[in-house]
């Protein structure tokens, strides 16, 4: 359940940001969690409910974008969608690739008041 670590890390960051800014609460938080990041969004929501209570993120609207997994084949340079991290190139079948998106794990922005 590493989603717990993820959520607590988000909370810490948000609390710090609010404290350093105008104070108050977070109305909206924008997260970017790639489909290959290893985070289960469902688990994250589950933990969120439990963890955000009593913090600046209580009752915040959580907006999550989930970038698709994309890779570039190291052999033929084809760019392709990656559903599973071990998907091979659809053109030349090579497993060698560099992931170009889907690994994101970011707090994009906060709306506070």
């Amino acid at each position: 359940m590493h989603e717990l670590s993820i959520v607590t890390s988000i909370i810490k960051t948000a609390e710090k940001e609010v404290e350093n800014s105008i104070g108050g609460k977070v109305l909206e938080i924008y997260l970017e969690i790639g489909k290959l990041s290893g985070v289960e969004i469902q688990s994250l929501h589950f933990v969120w409910e439990l963890s955000a209570n009593g913090t600046v993120l209580q009752d915040s609207k959580v907006i999550i974008t989930e970038p698709e997994g994309k890779a570039k084949c190291a052999e033929c340079e084809t760019e392709y969608l990656v559903e599973k991290i071990y998907d091979s190139c659809p053109k030349c079948n090579s497993p060698f690739k560099s992931i170009i998106s889907g690994k994101e794990l970011k707090i994009k922005k906060l709306i506070i008041n």
């Binding site: 993820i6 960051t13 071990y86 994009k108």
Partner: protein, 284 residues
């Protein structure tokens, strides 16, 4: 609540236990407050890139500041703190010429046995330091301490993985010698530890042949993030229906750059090349 494992009460504190020394030490890393907060301002992570969205409607001086909304563009990695401390650990290891290995696997693959055997066979040639991660007990550290090498047990409580802050603490406690080998045995778990960089030089995933051949594609993140894969318990091959080549194919599918070692920590078969790898890594 703590950053690392989300624990919220003292009963779930992370404990550091020096089994070599007499004193059992409980450093309350998770005594939320000082320790966790102390590092967070190392790098002034430029918030407030622009204030363009601050709708400051100062109609008068009554200060309706808290009614106004403000947008903070963060673009910040969620695990930035772990990554930051991992970089620090890495710098420490590099400066002291220490080669650090993060050993990961599911529970029961033989991580500790492999470690015991490796230390017993090489301790006259290589200076070892060991960090043991488990949710509870000092059983593993006790086994390592019996070999008379410096060892720290980290009990993560309910935490399912080690993180870079725990390693930073443990390393301070160990004060490892220059040019030594740092073996970090992570919590037995094939999922969670994969996301947390500890600052290690390499990550070694261990799989035993009593597990399924398709484990690499069932838990791809761990195999994707490792550089070395040790296949353990090969002495059991005659008794099992296990196809090592199939396992390797699956693992290569996830990570075509993986380097394999087939060993039995019990009989010693195949350990020579693993040992050579360690010696070479330490020199380079």
């Amino acid at each position: 609540m703590c950053v690392t494992c989300g624990c919220s009460s003292d009963e779930n504190e992370v404990k550091f236990i020096n089994v070599n020394g007499k004193a059992v030490q409980h450093s309350h890393v998770h005594s939320h407050g000082d320790v966790h907060h102390s590092h967070s301002h190392d790098h002034s992570h430029s918030h407030d890139h622009d204030h363009s969205h601050t709708h400051e409607h100062h109609h008068d001086d009554h200060g309706h500041i808290h009614l106004n909304t403000k947008e903070i563009n963060l673009e910040k990695e969620i695990l930035h703190k772990n990554d930051l401390l991992a970089e620090r650990n890495k710098g420490y290891f590099e400066a002291k010429n220490i080669f650090a290995i993060n050993l990961v696997s599911s529970p029961g693959s033989g991580k500790t046995s492999l470690l015991e055997r490796t230390i017993a066979d090489l301790k006259n040639e290589i200076s070892f330091n060991v960090i043991e991660g488990d949710q509870q007990t000092t059983n593993d550290a006790d086994r390592i301490a019996a070999l008379e090498v410096p060892v720290i047990q980290i009990n993560t409580g309910k935490g399912c993985h080690l993180d870079s802050e725990m390693i930073a603490k443990a390393v301070k406690e160990l004060s490892p010698k220059d040019g030594s080998l740092m073996m970090i045995e992570n919590v037995g778990n094939l999922v969670c530890p994969s996301m947390f960089d500890l600052g290690e030089n390499i990550r070694v995933v261990i799989i035993s042949i009593t597990e399924g051949e398709d484990k690499p594609i069932k838990y791809p993140d761990m195999f994707y993030g490792s550089q070395v894969c040790i296949i353990n318990k090969i002495d059991l091959l005659p008794y099992l229906k296990f196809d090592i080549e199939k396992l390797k194919d699956y693992a290569r599918k996830v990570n075509p750059n993986l380097q394999f070692f087939e060993v039995s920590a019990y009989t010693g078969e195949g350990l020579e090349s693993w040992y050579n790898f360690l010696k070479k890594s330490l020199k380079s």
